[in-house]
Symmetry: C2
Subunit: 412 residues, 2 copies
């Protein structure tokens, strides 16, 4: 299928990336604002999340209720997320409703009301979310793993800390907004039934006069302990393992993530086969490549009963170590079939493509077409991946466990 | 967009429903086999799940490994689920890979190996999943709510029971398969880039000589207690509420589910606004319509801290009772915009459409086009919904809580 992706950088640094999709009736957008959790002040972890939530409570001429009403009348299916780098604001709807939806989101990123009288309700919701994680140990162990693996503040969970959330004032929220919400570094991905010249003009009208500001990206500093156990009264043990990898923009990325795809991702993948299918050690086991712009890792998870946890950890680490000895041709051909089928599906979803092209721009400075992605996957060879693995064997493991008793970590 | 849906019932009772989608490259299928958890023998709860898992470990000429390898080489993105009524087997891939994938699935439903030497691993995985639910209280409370709301065996969780799982023998699995896997009652939905005449011919070759068998649908018998508390050592309390509604095939269904859409579903919905946005009582609160073929309910969930749980329950029940007093025109117009936008998105996904047309056939005996669904939504009026609510106010609540202490249930 022919596919073109267009992009435009406005003078204030704002980037618009658009992918016209003629086969759909919908249009979707994804706005990445460089104001994620890594920008939270050290004693105010959770500020990005609270700022994002409060920004959703009225902007421009609309109060909180009108904001929601207007979006719902446009049939917008929306979602927000705070990662370490970004506040991301996404939406999908009928193509004809895209322009008014973008108009509302322009108000959101430039003229939110940040109402003081709603701060307490927003804070309570954030505290509830934080406490709910305590009741969700599989979520918690991975969050604590990232916190220890990545150098501060890049592993900081966007959910924040209880004490920090309690101390957030309305002045802190509005200061955070004024310091960080800016056009330079902001990327808007749009995909679906769009008219590029008109879209570019509209976004220009809405956002070209937004003033840029210099903001320093937080450096990555000291990292956490490598082996840790969190005591939790349960019959289950959660296991999280991380080891270093290369980020998306690195030339070795596809070789590195291809190796992870052999380890996990399909039903014939090694972790699934060895840990779940053969031994029945656990219900869920996976490894996935996790990338930031300048650093990355492979994250592995297994959740099992406390009595089988040591064996599960040992088998999982043995599989990670075995990966260094290389992959087989049949593993690569299955991986390619899987990834290419996934690309076809992605190409049929305006929401998936709007997010992908915005993310590409953040990591690479340009968007990749599905054809280019397909070629990169096609270009993978067993020799190439094995060479990468020989030079970069899984090692230097960070291991966090959560459960009734610590485990012995033998291979770290 | 023009849309036609074709269907064919083979002499053995098997139904094929197909929706050609010219705008996609993919094709997806969803096979509903009438062998869900409600058919489990009383002392073998979990047998449907174990049978499904073991059927995935080799069929026809393929052993377990070959089965997975063949599917992965076709780039099939697959998923299985066991509901009370069905074992459902779904997959999506490039359109050209659909015929060989269906060939493999025909072996799966007719000629699975059900290997005795893999039963223990399958059982262990099922036990791990069961134990993982104990660590996932929001999942657990809704599962226990459905168990109490629906008459036995229709509320039985597909995950089964620990003792029952332990007692399942290979003879029980193969007997279960032979008793239940049959063409009559099985529905195959296929959507995407398909050629209907060739698809019908292929499915006929694969499955037309499959022998039908008479199986009685389990009756719904006694139901569980209406107010229950499950003690759980946590700082959080999980709240589940169910009340009666009409199933999908009932003429009042769209009025009933429209009312639930005003209660929950969008950011301006009543539960979200009153429980979360105004009072910050919890992070997640929702209500959703849940339908079986002959019975249905509205399920509500709220998870919050133990100290705010009583207030959360009281406010939620008050909103359910207030719904009986009717909805407003602006609420209905937002709901319509939301639902119709959702239909557009559904129309762009072959996987979503293949599941929807199979489900329609199960409930109605025919598939609904998106245009027909759109008209049904357009036809909703404030008066119609309010009339329904006056005659069928939310009442007769089943309430299950999970947490450190029971709550007072005032409105049930």
């Amino acid at each position: 299928m022919a596919q073109s992706i267009l992009s435009h950088q406005f003078e204030n640094g704002l980037v618009l990336v658009g992918e016209p999709m003629e086969s759909v009736e919908s249009a979707a957008f994804n706005i990445l604002v460089p104001a994620g959790a890594a920008y939270d002040p050290a004693q105010r972890s959770g500020l990005a999340t609270v700022t994002c939530e409060l920004a959703l409570r009225g902007c421009g001429p609309r109060d909180s209720r009108q904001f929601i009403t207007d979006l719902e009348n446009l049939g917008l299916q929306r979602g927000e997320a705070v990662s370490s780098a970004h506040v991301s604001l996404g939406g999908a709807t009928l193509a004809k409703n895209l322009p008014p939806a973008l108009g509302i989101y322009a108000d959101l990123v430039r003229r939110p009301h940040l109402p003081a009288d709603e701060l307490d309700a927003v804070r309570l919701v954030a505290l509830q979310e934080l406490r709910a994680i305590e009741d969700d140990p599989s979520h918690k162990v991975m969050l604590e793993l990232k916190r220890r693996y990545y150098p501060e503040p890049w592993g900081r969970p966007s959910e924040g800390e209880e004490e920090a959330l309690g101390a957030i004032s309305i002045e802190a929220v509005s200061g955070h907004f004024q310091r960080l919400f800016r056009p330079n570094g902001t990327i808007i991905g749009v995909a679906g039934r769009i008219d590029w010249p008109r879209l570019k003009e509209l976004v220009g009208e809405l956002l070209a006069d937004w003033k840029p500001m210099a903001v320093e990206e937080p450096p990555g500093e000291r990292r956490g302990v490598k082996i840790d156990h969190l005591s939790h009264d349960s019959s289950q043990t959660q296991i999280g393992i991380a080891y270093p990898s290369v980020p998306y923009r690195h030339p070795d990325y596809f070789r590195a993530s291809g190796a992870v795809g052999v380890l996990s991702g399909g039903m014939s993948s090694r972790l699934f086969t060895e840990v779940r299918e053969k031994r029945g050690l656990c219900y869920t086991v996976f490894a996935s490549h996790h990338t930031q712009r300048s650093r990355a890792c492979v994250l592995c998870y297994a959740g099992t009963s406390a009595e089988r946890a040591q064996e599960t950890l040992d088998v999982t680490l043995a599989e990670l170590n075995r990966l260094a000895r290389g992959i087989m041709p049949d593993e690569l051909s299955r991986l390619k079939a899987r990834v290419k089928s996934g690309l076809i599906m992605q190409g049929e979803s305006s929401a998936a493509r709007s997010a992908a092209i915005a993310r590409d721009w953040y990591h690479l400075g340009y968007p990749r077409t599905l054809a280019e992605l397909g070629q990169l996957v096609d270009g993978l060879t067993v020799e190439g991946i094995n060479e990468y693995l020989e030079e970069n064997p899984p090692r230097d493991f960070t291991v966090v466990t959560l459960g009734p008793a610590p485990l012995r970590v033998q291979a770290a």
